[in-house]
């Protein structure tokens, strides 16, 4: 009855992660179709300004850099919450990924040999850039790193990398179906067979059947009231995975707040502003960060800077404004030249959206929801737990190199690295599968969606007395107020109760407009229950995690607790349930035992188990959670543990 499109690999999402995965899958000889809500180049990846991390060590302050140091910074940044093997894969592959993008046209900012002026820790310094590296990729400083390793194109990094990537997709002739939204997965309880897709031009439903389905739909920041994310970042990819009842989402409570969203409008100005020497000032125009973080100052990791800013505002040092209290970002000393070339987007944003000229004036900023560390839990190959043939890469995934906090510049780099690495593993896996097109199964999935939509447009569902926008706004406010930068048990409990009630009410939606086509109200109504489910996963995960780690900070449990919480939260949503089921697994094999970050200043409760004992449980605990065996044994990519795979007892 319905139209059915068959392909080897279906990639849902045309941002950097999805497109890079599609290229890898095509290189393995698969037919690939990419879906996207919007034309690929409008994906949120285009908005990334600052840059991407890779240990190339080309500039003066990058000298002596290595994959090892990048890995260690990443593990520290994650507050030891990450999968260290995945962080290895990432740090080892990132340099090749940057060079590959250079080969395909990214005009990276380059090293200019000779003396150059910088602002470091509030002071102007002149450094000698190595002449022998003239013309190689340049780096800027970023938060939480031991060397300058952020590769960048002025402040249009995401834009130039995404354009180069999409150029590759076009050159390879890979089809992208834009304005198409995956609204459900087709699966038989064991294996994923593709997705039910709604056309945002016409409202029609279509089935896309594939051997491998990849979710690369980016973050879900729009469940918060104030977010730097694009308005399409509503987490539909994560929620259709959750809807299966089989696939868990990892660490959903790990939400990143970026120190410099502008006030109002919440548009991001990049960490590169502080990397290039920008300072944070309070109501007295006093530079407060060195008092809290004498070593890293403005460039501690994001979770730490955001918390310090919030603390400082709570001490009465915020700048009052009709849009709430904020602090100042001072860029004036960087000079017109720098602001109009290397930070040009920032300059434009300040001028157009605030009417503030950063060359002469201070920029109002405050910590704003920015990044989702959590997402679809996958193994190191990108294969989702619980359902064969489902994969995920990029911000939508919890591959888990970020643990409880990701470093700036690491996520854009992750998209390309995971796209390369997992894309290849996925492509090889798909190549080895035979096509089983079960039309009845696909039709059944489509009919279920058809029925849901029909009842929405013919009078509404349930008691038909609730409005889509109102429910969404209410949920966004709850997360903002009660599951923010600092969290408390009591408030989290209220958040869970209130969100559960809103979720219940979303069963009674009524539409105000009643046509089927590209109706935006209908699109929002279709997405709403999924967004509420994600909000509940965030709130409940945060309530149950009684420690502070990375971006998750509990006022009632201020210490990081490695004895009880060296764990990853997994949230599943059983079919028909009214809240998620939460369980836990070990974070992964430990090569670096939990230690001090050297910034942030919190206390730790030490691990009691030995690292060996901890590591011995990892694989069996993961298997219980639906982990799929990987192309290479667990631990192969770890440096100290190359032997682990061969010596471990089964």
């Amino acid at each position: 009855m319905s139209e059915l499109i068959t392909t080897d690999v279906l990639v849902i999402g045309a941002g950097l992660a999805g497109e890079r995965a599609a290229i890898s899958a095509a290189a393995e000889g698969n037919d690939v179709v990419i879906l996207s809500l919007v034309p690929p180049r409008r994906s949120h990846s285009c908005a990334a300004q600052g840059g991407m991390q890779a240990a190339l060590g080309n500039c003066n302050k990058g000298a002596g850099d290595s994959e090892e140091l990048h890995w260690l910074d990443t593990v520290k940044g994650s507050d030891w919450g990450c999968d260290q093997e995945v962080a290895r894969i990432f740090a080892d592959t990132a340099p090749v990924a940057m060079r590959e993008m250079a080969h395909h046209g990214v005009p990276w900012t380059r090293v200019k040999g000779g003396p150059a002026d910088y602002f470091i820790k509030g002071k102007k310094v002149t450094l000698e850039e190595p002449r022998e590296n003239e013309g190689l990729i340049m780096h800027r400083d970023f938060g939480g790193v031991s060397r300058w390793r952020t590769c960048y194109t002025a402040d249009g990094t995401g834009h130039t990398v995404l354009y180069a990537m999409d150029n590759m997709v076009i050159e390879l002739g890979i089809s992208v179906h834009d304005r198409m939204e995956a609204i459900a997965l087709i699966h038989d309880g064991e294996k994923c067979h593709g997705a039910v897709v709604r056309c945002l031009r016409t409202g029609e439903l279509k089935n896309y059947v594939a051997k491998a389905t990849v979710i690369a739909t980016g973050g879900f920041g729009r469940v918060y009231k104030y977010s730097t994310n694009a308005i399409i970042n509503q987490g539909t990819g994560q929620s259709i995975a959750l809807d299966t009842g089989l696939v868990p989402l990892g660490n959903m409570e790990a939400v990143q707040f970026h120190p410099t969203g502008i006030v109002p409008t919440d548009i991001l100005v990049t960490e590169g502003c502080r990397g290039d020497g920008g300072l944070l000032l309070d109501v007295d125009e006093y530079r407060f960060m060195p008092d809290y973080e004498p070593d890293k100052q403005e460039l501690a990791s994001r979770d730490v800077v955001s918390r310090r800013m919030t603390e400082h505002i709570q001490k009465g040092k915020g700048v009052p404004s009709p849009d709430g209290e904020h602090l100042w970002l001072d860029l004036r000393h960087l000079g017109e030249d720098h602001l109009r070339t290397k930070l040009r987007e920032v300059y434009d944003i300040c001028m157009y959206f605030l009417g503030v000229n950063p060359i002469k004036e201070l920029v109002p900023v405050r910590p704003t929801q920015h990044y989702s560390m959590g997402g679809i839990r996958v193994n190191k190959d990108g294969h989702a737990y619980g359902l064969k043939g489902l994969w995920s890469v990029g911000e939508s995934a919890c591959w888990d190199m970020h643990g409880m906090n990701r470093l700036g510049g690491n996520s854009l780099a992750e998209t390309v690295v995971a796209g390369m690495f997992c894309g290849q593993r996925m492509g090889q896996w798909a190549k080895a599968q035979t096509h089983e097109v079960d039309k009845a199964l696909a039709d059944k999935a489509l009919n279920a969606q058809h029925e849901r939509i029909s009842s929405l447009i013919s009078g509404g569902i349930g008691e038909a007395n609730e409005n889509v926008d109102e429910l969404l706004i209410a949920a966004q406010e709850i997360l903002q107020d009660k599951v923010g930068i600092f969290r408390k048990g009591e408030e989290l409990e209220q958040a869970v109760v209130e969100l559960r009630e809103i979720y219940r009410r979303s069963g009674n939606l009524k539409m105000r407009s009643a046509f089927k086509g590209a109706n935006p109200e209908l699109a929002a109504a279709i997405r709403l229950p999924g967004m509420l489910k994600l909000a509940l996963c965030v709130a409940k995960g945060a309530l149950l995690r009684t420690e502070s780690r990375g971006g998750h900070s509990r006022e009632d449990y201020p210490e990081r607790n490695d004895r009880d919480w060296l764990k990853r939260t997994l949230a599943r949503w059983p079919i028909g349930a009214d809240e998620p089921d939460i369980s836990y697994e070990p974070v992964g094999l430990l090569e670096s035992p939990p230690g001090q970050r050297g910034y942030g200043g919190a206390e730790n409760i030490a691990m009691e188990q030995s690292v060996e004992d901890y590591n011995a449980t990892v694989e069996s605990e993961w298997i219980k959670q639906g982990w799929h065996p990987t192309a290479t044994p667990l631990g192969t990519e770890l440096k100290e543990m190359v032997e682990y795979a061969s010596t471990k007892k089964s």
Binding site: S43, H104, W108, K112, T153, Y163, P264, Y352, A518, P520
Partner: protein, 254 residues
């Protein structure tokens, strides 16, 4: 006192046989720093839940929200109502296929453009994952970035008289894209290849040079300089004067 604004919005659903193109007025009170992203969402929330328009980044970087604002194509998300009179007329950009109301299909158009100009680095070199990146001086990188900044918003196409009457005209964005690869030393296309691509009526010679495009480009791309550079190089090729290595010479971009 706050101004009372009237947003006069083009409404039409091409999929609905009963829908007729028309303008509908929506009234609202102006609030401080109101931009059209917020204003249109308010209308959708309170008055017309089915109103179609496109925003993604709402920060002036993704190119989704080009529309005709009082007759001029520009980005709605970064247009403040304070810069406009009380009557604000909004219409979809011409030259693109209408999806509904203010939403047009720029995605298909731009993919087609990229295919036509073969918007990728043409090189015989294979990527070598073990080698260091090919060097490029920073000035060259900056010049390429300058032209790579196009966000495919389509404003230059909507504002171009030629593109509005000739469907096959490449438009300023395409000429800019060609310029971007022409100045990129990694691209091995020869002057003759470029000549074939641009020296037709669909290319640079079809352009009437009135620079409607340069005026409206929200990213202030130096379209004028790019066109001048291309004309110069193409007339050199035509006169047989192009040197084989001309691909590396750069336009003067202010």
């Amino acid at each position: 006192m706050a101004r009372q604004l009237t947003l006069r919005i083009f409404r039409y659903d091409p999929l609905d046989p009963e829908s007729k193109p028309c303008f509908v007025d929506y009234e609202m009170e102006e609030t401080p720093r109101l931009n059209l992203f917020v204003a249109l969402h308010r209308i959708r929330e309170n008055q017309a839940p089915d109103l179609q328009f496109d925003f993604v980044c709402r920060a002036g970087v993704c190119g989704s929200c080009g529309m005709m604002i009082n007759g001029r194509p520009t980005l709605a998300c970064r247009t403040l109502t304070a810069e406009l009179p009380e009557l604000i007329t909004l219409a979809p950009m011409p030259a693109f296929k209408l999806i509904g109301d203010l939403s047009v299909d720029t995605g298909t158009w731009f993919r087609g453009m990229s295919e036509r100009v073969e918007s990728w680095i043409h090189t015989q070199k294979e990527f070598d994952p073990t080698a260091e990146e090919e060097r490029m001086d920073d000035e060259t990188a900056e010049k390429i970035y300058e032209l790579d900044r196009c966000i495919e918003c389509g404003c230059c196409v909507a504002g171009c008289a030629t593109a509005n009457i000739r469907e096959d005209f490449l438009g300023a964005t395409a000429l800019n894209r060609i310029g971007r690869f022409m100045i990129d030393p990694r691209d091995e296309r020869s002057s003759e290849d470029w000549f074939e691509l641009v020296s037709t009526d669909e290319g640079v010679f079809g352009c009437m040079g009135l620079m409607g495009c340069d005026d409206v480009c929200p990213k202030e791309l130096p379209l004028l300089d790019v066109f001048a550079y291309m004309r110069r190089r193409m007339s050199q090729v035509a006169a047989g004067k192009a040197k084989p290595d001309a691909g590396t010479s750069l336009p003067v971009i202010s």
